[in-house]
């Protein structure tokens, strides 16, 4: 019996041309005036992932998250009814950041400045010398922020009245995301790093496989194979403003002995949890989150812009249940260290890319068809920036 090797054919250039074929201007990738427009047009009015429901498992749990691109700090709580709430972490008396820790369990928060105390539903519970004010302090609630949950991920939206609910925003992806291991996760491992580069350059690095064989000759050995040397995906999906792809599995991958042992442990746990090892769906959630649904390394990367030329990446591997055996603990440590090894290899080249573009030497950059997800991100960003500019002009004209 002979097995026929299924030749791999990537999605054709013709089939992807509808996303665009032109060179892309470089200025959006480094100019701070463009970043300021993105801040208003995108980060202050889109749904942005801030955490996961497993971080606030019970009434009284809370987290605090920095969100530089929104000029904000968020306090996210679970109240006594189990409801998830989000607030600006800003005391309505004189603006002081109310909570200075990353998270914990506390159902009331006292401002360090003059001692105003709030419930985790945002109500003012006590204010010293309340009768000395000219207002009714009980009207002073913590400024609420819209919050939504999908597949366990907590999203916030700084828009005072978001144009779409989170579910409308994610549209058909809701059902897909809810099927992922992340949706049932109860814990996670996390590592972070910063790069001196624009957030889109950081993101783009993780939405094309063209670079794998050059940057990951060792850690990415299994990603490409004779049939598909670059490890291109088998499918792309466009769900404006989001996108997806199906990662190709290399049938010829030959793990090294210790690696095979560690992956074997991980595979057993993934299968026990009911996941199919061949599932490898990638979801790029606009603007700055992507999620990989691989059963053995179910992870997410949140790409947090700090400035036009500075970005923080937060990578998490989500797990169902605490480590309940030495083998599981070992397999998870190995999976995390493996993902980390691949991630760190991209860092230097992301910064080098930013330096090259920020020199202003190039007016345009080029995306090949298999870099279509990068192009799609740019299209979606620029569409919003241009619409926002038009909005500003109209506002100016009508004043």
């Amino acid at each position: 019996m002979t097995t026929t090797v299924q030749a791999f054919a990537p999605v054709s250039k013709e089939d992807l041309a509808f996303i665009g074929t032109d060179p892309i201007p470089t200025e959006p990738y480094y100019r701070s005036d463009y970043f300021e427009l993105e801040r208003e047009a995108i980060f202050k009015r889109s749904w942005i992932q801030m955490g996961h429901i497993c971080e606030i498992p019970e009434p009284g749990s809370f987290i605090v998250r920095a969100f530089e691109a929104g000029n904000a700090s968020l306090l996210i709580t679970r109240d006594r009814d189990g409801e998830v709430r989000a607030f600006h972490n800003a005391c309505p008396h004189r603006g002081t950041q109310l909570v200075q820790v990353d998270g914990g369990k506390r159902s009331r928060f006292t401002c360090p400045y003059h001692g105003w105390t709030f419930s985790n539903q945002g109500k003012l519970l006590a204010a010293p010398e309340a009768d000395k004010f000219y207002i009714n302090p009980s009207d002073c609630t913590l400024p609420a922020v819209s919050v939504g949950v999908c597949a366990g991920f907590i999203f916030i939206n700084l828009d005072k009245s978001p144009r779409q609910s989170l579910q409308e925003y994610l549209g058909p992806l809701v059902a897909e995301l809810e099927k992922l291991p992340h949706a049932r996760a109860t814990t996670y491992s996390e590592y972070t790093y910063e790069v001196d580069a624009n957030w889109k350059l950081t993101y783009d690095n993780f939405q094309e496989n063209y670079h794998l064989r050059f940057l990951h000759p060792r850690s990415g050995e299994a990603a490409g194979g004779p049939q598909n040397p670059y490890g291109y995906p088998t499918r792309y999906g466009f769900h404006d403003p989001h996108r997806s792809q199906t990662i190709w599995s290399n049938p010829d991958a030959k793990p090294l002995p210790f690696q095979a042992f560690a992956f074997g442990k991980g595979a057993r746990h993934a299968m026990e949890a009911g996941y199919k090892l061949e599932d490898k769906e990638y979801f790029g959630i606009f603007p700055n989150l992507f999620i990989l649904g691989a059963a053995m390394t179910p992870f997410s990367q949140c790409i947090m812009p700090i400035a036009a030329n500075k970005t923080r990446s937060i990578i998490r591997l989500y797990w169902i249940g605490e480590d309940d055996s030495a083998s599981k603990r070992f397999a998870r440590e190995y999976a995390m260290a493996t993902a980390l090894d691949i991630h760190c290899e991209d860092r230097a080249v992301i910064e080098a890319g930013h330096r090259g573009l920020a020199s202003g030497a190039l007016s345009h950059l080029h995306f090949q068809s298999q870099e279509v997800l990068c192009r799609h991100l740019y299209n979606q960003v620029d569409k919003r920036v241009q619409a926002y500019k038009a909005e500003l002009e109209n506002r100016g004209a009508s004043e």
Binding site: T187, Y188, S189, E190, Y191, T192, Y193, E194, P217, R218, S219, E221, L256, P257, F258, Q259, F261, A262, K265, W319, E322, D323, D324, S325, A326, S327, R329, F330, R332, E333, Y334, M336, A337, T338, L340, D341, H343, C344, E345, R347, A348
Partner: protein, 121 residues
């Protein structure tokens, strides 16, 4: 080696010489130790350790993690260090020094293995 000097469960004496350097609490500390180590020490730890990981896990799997005694916990920490070290020795090989330069920019803030280890983050 006399019995009272044994710091690991019976059957794992071959790992005794690695306890001081590699029985480390905290995933980020294990990563840092990998990045700060010499090629020769990584190689000798991995070469002796790799075949002992399956029997070590078989032993440790018999108890809930929070019931591991001191010796067993040390063995667990060694096995977890081997997860990191194996990537240097088996996967990165000659690329490890260059690779380590980029890995230095990463911090592990939290790992599931940090539980039950009295780690203060």
């Amino acid at each position: 080696m006399s019995l009272e000097n044994m710091r690991l469960p019976t059957g794992f004496d071959a790992l005794e010489p690695f306890v001081d350097r590699w029985a480390i609490k905290g995933a980020n500390n294990r990563l840092q130790q990998r990045l700060n180590s010499q090629e020769s020490e990584r190689a000798s730890f991995f070469n002796i350790g790799k075949d002992l990981v399956p029997p070590a896990l078989e032993l440790l799997d018999q108890k809930p993690l929070h019931e591991l005694d001191e010796k067993e916990q040390r063995l667990m920490d060694l096995v977890l260090s081997l997860a990191h070290i194996s990537l240097a020795v088996e996967i990165q090989r000659d690329h490890e020094p260059a690779h380590a330069e980029s890995a230095r920019h990463i911090t592990i803030n939290r790992a599931t293995s940090d539980k039950d280890t009295n780690l203060c983050n």
